[in-house]
Amino acid sequence: MDSPELATMPLPVLEPIKGVKKAPLEEYFTSGHRTCQGCESALVMKLMIKAAGPRTVVLGSTGCMYVANTTYYSTPWVVPWMHTQLGSSGSAAVGTAAGYRALMRKGKIKKEPINVISFCGDIGGADMGLSAISAALQHVDYNHLILLYDNESAANTDIQATGSTPYGAVTTFSPTGPAKRIFHTRWKKNTAAMLAAGHPECRYVATVCASYAVDFMNRVRRALTIGGPTFIHSFDPCPKGWDYDPMLSHELGELAVLTGIWPLFEVEDHTLRLYGKSKAIAEGRQKRLPVRDYLLKQGRFAHFTEDDIDYFQAKIDDMWTQWLIPGVLPFAAEVLNDTPPA
């Protein structure tokens, strides 16, 4: 904090939700959106703002959750929202939070907690906007949350690959064909852990999945109440982009966690915690399901051979058995055992 005044910038009081029956009934993301049937990202928006409450300004960088929610003179947002450039979720969050802080400091508006939430898709957040998010997480004077809703493709523009698209998935930019059976050979970016590890002053980073709605909302509440810039990475099954029956969205979110593909963790003031089913997996209380159960429910992996599935499984096994922090940090433990010469 650069002045005593800033230390007193008000933060909201948002108690953890003790169960689904205790969740607020009020909706601030209502009718009027044009998302697809089974869209998990729409649920993410709904839960995000339900957890944050009405004193919230939502900023959305270009992506399906901006376009589908604000087209043709209609919007589901009850709270104020603002559209921002595709790669600008970080910058827009800082600018807005700085603006509110200045207005409160000068006494032009009442000093009260106002949540600033800036959301971005995976191509906006994990690709083009990554540097802006990184900078935003360094500006510790400003209170805001950046939420990355990750449906693993550029779903707004016809399902193109992104840095968050999983290995081998078919997209319109990574078709399977005679020249290349596996076009997309990049492994998915480990965005949340990268941002947590790279920004030690950022007080809260978490991964979430809306299939676990109460856990999801409580992470949003923690991010908004802890102070300073925070980041949440949400894993959002997408029926259109992943090519599956829309009724399976919730199940695929669960399967991603249960197969170990999507670890649920939070880093709060430098303390890392796996939570939910991921914690159970790490502690051996929950057996990881085979990735096959997850992959073969989706058309985007329909071209996978047994070898491809085995490769994918081996990479996930590595995450849980070889990584220094299972599911989070992909360094080999050898570094810790390194003994410098006497």
């Binding site: 450039q85 595709l86 690709d127 083009m128 523009t157 193109q160 690959a161 930019f173 064909g177």
Partner: protein
């Protein structure tokens, strides 16, 4: 060869492959995404490289320094992001082809056809004094043909060449005769192709000494003067015209219908269609302006090319403007109405 019914974006992509495209760097943005999608499917089959960038800024910088025939494509918002990279390409004299399928703006605007990027494409390549050579097709066939021209011009002038289309041209389907594939003979003695026995090649646009940078700029300006010989334009029913409509790209397509209808009604109208927007067919416009009594410019913008037309006409005749924008597309009756207004204006004078 039998024409194939082809979408504008895909026709450009296939034509690029047949012009010797070796690498494409892309990023999704409507209404051009079919172009990279086609290349993702087809370019690897022909031994080329399709690589997805993490942003348009990355895409334009991926083509920087490429000795092979390379292309990128985008629409307005992405074209804006590419401007700095284009300036580097121009400064370092590195060729590439960039396709801009214009959409409604400003800001995110919408995904409907527009021609609001004219200034951005023709007036400078990003910052500094550089220029893009700019081609504006009005049909899918011409988009296909000009793609090859674009690669040739890029190589000849070692300068980025833009194909300025719009959402309508990119999305519509028309019969197309695709050109036969060529293996272009190219002089890439400037390209950084790896360590060899010769002197190291340097690609840069940095000249800290003002004298050196001025010399580089003089060379560029001389190149643009030479490029005047590449001017392309088309005239239609101009011989006895009183009213000359000037329009490019899809606007010209609409204007041609309006000109025909005006003729049916006894109004002597004609059409000037610039095909190269830079270099602009100034002499042609000037000549026409000397013969007709009034000029009407129509664009899908608030009025951008009209400035070049006014400069070219140089006060010889009144120059009127009619534009639709924000994704709205003018119709032949609208243009006809404007032609009639222009004609009555000169009759009254």
């Amino acid at each position: 060869m039998m024409p194939a019914f082809t979408k504008g974006n895909e026709a450009i992509a296939e034509s690029a492959i047949r012009a010797g495209l070796r690498a494409y760097f892309g990023y999704p943005v409507t209404p051009q995404s079919e172009l990279p999608e086609y290349l993702a499917r087809r370019l690897p089959e022909r031994g080329g490289v399709f690589l997805q960038a993490e942003s348009e800024i990355a895409a334009i910088n991926m083509v920087y320094g490429a000795g092979a025939r390379v292309m990128i494509s985008t629409s307005g918002p992405g074209f804006s992001l590419m401007q700095e990279g284009l300036s580097y390409l121009v400064g370092a004299e590195v060729p590439c082809v960039v396709v801009d399928m214009m959409r409604g703006g400003p800001g995110l605007g919408n995904i409907a056809p527009a021609q609001g990027d004219y200034f951005q494409a023709t007036k400078s390549a990003g910052h500094g004094d550089g220029r893009l050579l700019v081609l504006a097709p009005w049909s899918v066939q011409e988009a296909c043909d000009l793609t090859r021209v674009a690669f040739d011009l890029a190589d000849r002038y070692r300068n980025p060449v833009a194909i300025l289309g719009d959402g309508l041209l990119g999305q519509m389907m028309e019969p197309v005769v695709l050109p036969a594939p060529v293996e272009p003979a190219r002089d890439v003695a400037w390209a950084t192709t790896g360590a060899g026995s010769g002197p190291a090649r340097v690609i840069t646009s940095l000249d800290l000494e003002p004298e050196a940078l001025e010399a580089r700029n003089r060379r560029l300006q001389e190149k643009y003067r030479r490029a005047q010989q590449e001017v392309r334009w088309e005239g239609y029913r101009l011989d006895d015209a009183d009213v000359a409509v000037v329009a490019y790209g899809i606007s010209a397509r609409i204007a041609r219908t309006a000109v025909d209808r005006a003729r049916d009604e006894g109004v002597a109208a004609g059409l000037v269609r610039p095909i190269t927007l830079f270099p602009f067919p100034s002499q042609a416009v000037r000549d026409v302006a000397s013969r007709v009594r009034i000029v009407l410019v129509t664009e899908l913008s608030a009025g951008q090319m009209v400035e070049d037309v006014r400069l070219a006409a140089d006060g010889r005749v009144p120059v009127r403007f009619y534009g639709r924008f924000g994704g709205m597309v003018s119709t032949p009756p609208e243009i006809l109405d404007q032609i009639e207004q222009a004609a009555s204006e000169v009759r009254a004078a």
